[in-house]
Subunit: 251 residues, 2 copies
C-alpha cells in the first residue's frame, strides 16, 4: 500500500522536469534510489514547509535571523520505524542504520571525513553558485513558492535576486571546484571520478546534487550551464553523468 | 649503518625540548614513528632550507610573492629507493606505497577525503593559531633561524610579530576547532577521538601536529597554552595525549 512507503518531503518545481531541483533534497532522493528503497514524495511549497514540519514533528535544522526556529526540507518519514528525520546528512545516517542490507553511503570509519567534505564544499562551491543561481531557481518554482523565495532571499541579501551575483562568484566557483578536483585526483588514475574512489558515497551526492540543481534551474541550453559544464575540461559533466540512473523522480 | 637510514629534513629549535616543533615536519616524523620505520634527522636552519633543497634535488612546494620557487620542509630522502620527497602529504603517500607492510596512514578509498580534511583544517584552525603563535615560535628558534623567521614574517604581515594576533583569532580558532569536533562526533560514541574512528590516519597527524606545535612553542605553563587546552572541555589535550608515543625525536 502506498501509505506504507517511506515519505520524502521535497519542494516542487513549476513543471514536471523541474521537480526535485534542490541540492539538499536531491541528496536523500538519490540515496533512496541508490539503495533501491521504495518511497513516495510529498511535495511541499515553500510557504508551507514550516507548517508541515511542525505538523509531522520534524525538528528545525537552523535558526532564523530573529532567533526563531527554521524548518527546512528534506524531511523523511519512515512508517516502519515511525521516525521523522530532518536534514540530508541525518537522513543518510538513518537510512544506513535502518536498512543495513543496502549499500552504505557513509562507509565505516568515514563519517568525520564525509562531514568535513560537506563543510569544505558548502562555502567553496555551493555558496558562489547559489549567488549565480538565485534568479534561475526562482524561474522554475510554482507561483506561491517563487513569490516566497524572491521575497525572503531579497530581504536576506538586501537586493534584487538578479543583482546578487557578480563575475567574482564565477571565479570563486572555479577555485572551489578546483579544490574538489585536486582532492579527487589524490585517489589516483581511474579513481578520480568518485570521492571514495570505487564506491558511491554521501560525499558524491553532496557534489552531484549541486550540479543537478544548476542544470535543472539554469536549463541545459543556457549560457550559464554551458559555462559551468565547460569548467575543468568538462570533468563535471562526466562526473554528473555517472549518477543519471539515480536521478529518478516519482512524478 | 646510519648513512643508510631514511633521512627526515626538519627545522631545529633552540634547545633539545624544542626540536621538531613545526606542524608540517611533525606529520612525517609521527608517520615514521607510527610505522616503526628507522630514520635519522638532518636539522636545517631556516636560512639554509632553499640551498639544501636545491642541493639534494627536493622539489619546491610553492611560489614566493615574487613568483620564484619556494622550498619548504619537511623533505624526506629514502636511500633504498633514492627518492627525495617534498611536502608532508606526498611523504605520507610515498611511505604508504614504499612500505606496504606498515600501517597505512591514507587507507584505501580515503585519499580525496583526507586531502579535503587538510583543506578544511588549514584555514579554519592552523591559520588563526599561526597568528597567535608567531612570537612564540620565534622564541624557540636558534638565533639565525629566529632572525630569518622574524624578518620574513614581518615583511609578509607588514607588522611586528607581536602585533599580528588579535582576540578575533582566538574566536576563529575556537570556531574552527568546533567544526573539527562536530566532524569527530559524527563517528559516534567512543569513536570520536580519531578522525577515522578506530585507526590512526594522516588526518590525525594534521591535527595533532598543530597542537604539539602550540604546546612546544607556547610552553605548557603559558596562559596561551592553558587557554588552548581548556577549549571544548579539554578535549584537545586528551586528543593529543593519544599520540605521545609517536612524538619521539632523535636528538
Amino acid at each position: 500500500m502506498s501509505s506504507e512507503l517511506i515519505v520524502l518531503y521535497d519542494i516542487p518545481g513549476r513543471e514536471k522536469q523541474w521537480m526535485s531541483w534542490s541540492p539538499n533534497t536531491l541528496k536523500p532522493r538519490m540515496t533512496l534510489n541508490y539503495k533501491g528503497l521504495q518511497y513516495r514524495t510529498e511535495w511541499v511549497e515553500y510557504p508551507d514547509i514550516e507548517g508541515v514540519c511542525k505538523k509531522i514533528g520534524a525538528r528545525p535544522t537552523d535558526k532564523k535571523a530573529d532567533g526563531s526556529d527554521r524548518y527546512t526540507l528534506p524531511v523523511l518519514y519512515d512508517p516502519r520505524t515511525q521516525r521523522v528525520v530532518s536534514d540530508s546528512w541525518d537522513i543518510a545516517r538513518y537510512l544506513d542504520d535502518a536498512y543495513p542490507d543496502t549499500p552504505r553511503v557513509v562507509p565505516a570509519g568515514s563519517a568525520a571525513l564525509q562531514k568535513a567534505w560537506h563543510m569544505l564544499v558548502l562555502p567553496t562551491v555551493l555558496v558562489p553558485l547559489l549567488h549565480i543561481q538565485l534568479p534561475h531557481v526562482c524561474n522554475i518554482l510554482p507561483p506561491r513558492s517563487a513569490e516566497y523565495f524572491r521575497r525572503t532571499r531579497e530581504d536576506a541579501f538586501g537586493k534584487k535576486l538578479e543583482e546578487v551575483h557578480s563575475e567574482s562568484d564565477w571565479e570563486k566557483l572555479e577555485q572551489g571546484l578546483g579544490k574538489v578536483k585536486t582532492c579527487l585526483e589524490e585517489n589516483g588514475e581511474g579513481k578520480d571520478m568518485l570521492v571514495m574512489g570505487d564506491q558511491i558515497t554521501h560525499a558524491d551526492f553532496v557534489l552531484v546534487g549541486i550540479f543537478i540543481w544548476a542544470r535543472k534551474s539554469m536549463g541545459e541550453d543556457s549560457d550559464a550551464w554551458k559555462r559551468l559544464s565547460a569548467l575543468h575540461d568538462g570533468k563535471w559533466l562526466k562526473y554528473v553523468g555517472q549518477f543519471a540512473k539515480y536521478e529518478y523522480v516519482d512524478v
